[in-house]
Assembly symmetry: C2
Amino acid sequence: MPMAEYVRVVEVGPRDGLQNEARQVPAAVKIELIERLGRAGLRTIEATSFVSPKWVPQMADAAEVLAGLQRAPGVSYPVLVPNLQGLERARQAGVTDEIAVFTAASDAFNRRNINASVDESLERLAPVVAQALAAGLRVRCYVSTALGCPYQGAVPLDEVVRVTRAVADMGCYEISLGDTVGVGTARAAREMYRACADAVGHERLAVHFHDTYGQALANVYACLEAGARVVDASVGGLGGCPYAQGASGNLATEDLVYMLHGLGCSTGIDLDALVDTAQWISGVLERPPASRLARARAR
Amino acid sequence: MPMAEYVRVVEVGPRDGLQNEARQVPAAVKIELIERLGRAGLRTIEATSFVSPKWVPQMADAAEVLAGLQRAPGVSYPVLVPNLQGLERARQAGVTDEIAVFTAASDAFNRRNINASVDESLERLAPVVAQALAAGLRVRCYVSTALGCPYQGAVPLDEVVRVTRAVADMGCYEISLGDTVGVGTARAAREMYRACADAVGHERLAVHFHDTYGQALANVYACLEAGARVVDASVGGLGGCPYAQGASGNLATEDLVYMLHGLGCSTGIDLDALVDTAQWISGVLERPPASRLARARAR
C-alpha cells in the first residue's frame, strides 16, 4: 500500500483538548484558537461539544463559540453530539455542516461512560445519525478503545470491526479509530487499521492515537504504511499535559505534521503558524506546550 | 525483511544521559544506576566516558565509577574514548571488554566538535581502534549527524555510508547511526539505515535517535521494519529533560522497550524494574522523568 500523498489532519484541540484541560477557557479564546487553526491550514476543526453542560461544564459555551466564530471557506467545524438532545441543541445553535458522535468497542467502557452495552450504544446512536443525515449533516463517528480498554483490558479485534461496520452502515462518512488509553503499539495498530479498512474501506477511516505511553506517532506511521489517509491530533497536545492528573495524552498536531511533511505527505498546513498557535494557547493556559516541536522551537 | 525476534537495547543513560544533565551526580549514584540497569536486564550499558575532564567535568569520576562497579555476568560496560590518551586512561582504569568511539558524518559538525574534517577524524580514529583491538577490546563506534547536522543542515547519505563503511573496515563490531539533532523522520531514517545495512550488514549496525522533535520512536519502528536489531536509548530519557536548555532529547529506554514488547520483540528486559529505575534516578535528579511511560505509571 503506497503512503497517501495527501493526509488530512483533523484538529480536535478546541474540543477534545480543552475539555480535558484543568483551566476553564473563555469562549473568546476558543474562538480565536479555532480561527488561528483555520488560518494555519487545518480543514477539519472540531469546534465544541453539545454534551450536557452538567457533565462537561468546559463546553457549556458551545452555542456562544459557534455564534462568534468567523468561518473560513472550505473548513468544516464538526461538533460533538452525544444524543438526540445534543443534536437538537447543535441544530438550534446553527450547526449545518457536520457533527461527530461516539461509541466504544468495549462493553465495559460503554457501560462506565454512557451506561450502555456496545449494542445498546449502537441502538441509541442510530436515530441520532439518521436524524442528522436527514437534516443534511455529515456525521463522523469516534470508535474508542480500539486497541484496549481501561476497564476490561483487551478488546477483541472482531468487535472493533463489527462496531466500525455498524456505524459505517448507519451512514457515518468517517470513522475515527481511537486508542483511548494509548496502550497500543505499532503492529497492533496496523493490524486493527487493516481489518477495519478491509471492512469499510480506507476512505471511511481516520486514526486517533494518544501519546500516554509515547506510542502515538509510531502508531500513526504504521497505519500510514497500511494506507491511512486521515489522522486526528490536538494542537499543542492540548488535553494531554504530561504533568496533569488524568491527562489524555493527545498527540500534538505539530509533531504529527512535522512527521507527515518529512514523509513527503502534503497536508496544506503551515507548520510555523501551527507552532505559533500551540505556543500561544499554551501561554494562555499557563503551561508549557506538550509537543516536542513547540518546546524545541522555544529553545 | 522480517522484524528481529530479539532486539538488543544499548543503554546510554549513565554516560550520554548524565553527561547532558545540569546536575552533577556523585559516583555512588552512577554506580547504583548502572547496577540497577543490569538487574533490569540491560546487557550493554555504556558506563562512563574518558573524555578529558576539562571538557566534560561530569565524567571526571570515570575511574572511580568503574572501580566501584559490581559487574553482572553477561553484561558489557563500554566506555567512551575520544583519543589515544582516553584509551590509555580507560585501560589504566581496568577496562578490558569494550570501548566506544565517535565521529560524525558531517564535516561542519566534526570541525566544531573535534576541530577536524570527517577524513581527519577517521585518520585520528584509526590508531585508537587499532590499539584497542590489539589490546583485546571490542570497539563500538557512534556515527553522528546521520540524518542532519545542526551546522551544515543536510548530510549526504553517501557520506553517512562512507563513514560507516570506514569505521566497519577499521574493525568496529557495531556502528551506531545517530540522528544527533533529532530532525529526521521515519522514511529518511529507514532509507539511511537500509543504505548502511547494504554496506556493512545488519549485524554491524545500531540506531540512535533523539526525541527532540518527537520522532524517535517512529524512526526506530521504521528501522526495525528494515531489519534493525540494536537500538540505543537512555533510561528516563536522561539527557533529554524536555524543559532544559540544550536538551539532547534522548529516547527513553522504557518507552522503547514498551514498544518492542508490544511488537512481539523480546529484549530480556524487565519493564517494571526499568520504570522503577527511571523514577528513582529522576527523583535523584529532582526532575520528572522525560519518558511518557514513567509519567503515566506515576499517575
